[in-house]
């Protein structure tokens, strides 16, 4: 039954790698979205102010 440890370890690897990558992508996307909003806002303000 100690083999169960290995099963747990293997599936932990699966979860950690999958979720780790997914979360990393999500964070990057959020960061980029924030930058896009920021740039958009700056464009708007430039357009309003002659």
């Amino acid at each position: 039954m100690t083999n169960l440890n290995w099963l747990v370890a293997a599936y932990s690897v699966l979860f950690i790698l999958l979720f780790g990558y997914t979360i990393r992508l999500a964070l990057k996307q959020k960061h980029i979205d924030r930058r896009i909003d920021d740039l958009r806002r700056r464009l708007e303000s430039r357009r309003d102010a002659p």
Binding site: T2, L4, L7, V13, A26, Q29, I32, I36, L39, R42
Partner: protein, 224 residues
């Protein structure tokens, strides 16, 4: 639209596959519960090859058409592909140790998977170290194409070599003597993993598209 469907279907299929791997599939006679690693280990392995085919196709199409969307497809697929290759190798090692007593053996399947991972990694490293973006796309496409040509040659070479000098095949039981229920579980796991690959690939591609947008917006801001 595709994204919305994927956002629902992917986690659903993953949970379903977990059920199939842990509950539906019968416990293997000789190896016991640990064998359940097999379902995701094999699925990840096959998916990494699919990812690599995409890298090869993307590289070829980029060289042919110069359309950057192919270049993006190629290196995003490489990134996700190396993830699944890594999952396959690590899960494989954690399965091999309790069952066969060794962390590693140079049998055909493991060796091929390791080499594929290495080719992915060298491809990605190249991309990280080239300064000029246009140059990077061309160079990565060339290496992607060479890699894609290499994988089948690798397969033949290693299969031939192992044919001459057989080693105990880790997980040789996959092809032989699988319970039909196990095949079903494997199929379900494979579908789940391919969906995961597609989902992650689209998310990764979306980040690239956003990068493009930032570049465009920054230019606008600078010009005003």
């Amino acid at each position: 639209m595709t994204d919305r469907v994927l956002n629902v279907v992917t986690p659903l299929s993953f949970v379903t596959a977990l059920y199939f791997a842990f509950v539906y599939a019968p416990t293997e006679a000789t190896m016991g519960t640990v064998q359940r690693i097999f379902y995701f280990h094999v699925s990840a392995g096959i998916t990494s090859y699919v990812a690599f085919i995409v890298v090869g196709v993307g590289s070829l199409m980029y060289l042919y058409s110069r359309d950057p969307k192919w270049d993006r497809l190629a290196y995003c697929s490489a990134e996700v592909g190396v993830l699944f290759a890594g999952i396959n190798i690590l899960m494989g090692m954690l399965w091999a140790k309790p069952i066969w007593g060794i962390w590693w053996t140079w049998d055909a399947r493991l060796t091929l998977q390791l080499l594929l991972a290495l080719i992915f990694v060298s491809y990605l490293m190249l991309g990280a170290y080239v300064a000029d973006p246009m140059k990077r796309a061309s160079l990565q496409a060339v290496v992607g194409l060479l890699g894609a040509a290499d994988v089948p040659i690798n397969y033949m070479a290693i299969r031939w070599w192992r044919g001459q000098h057989p080693e105990p095949v880790i997980a040789g039981g996959e092809g032989s003597g699988l319970d039909p229920d196990m095949y079903i579980a494997l199929g379900v796991a494979f579908v789940a993993v391919i969906l995961l690959y597609t989902y992650l690939l689209r998310k990764r591609l979306a980040i690239e598209a956003s990068h493009e947008q930032i570049g465009y917006l920054e230019q606008l801001v600078a010009s005003r």
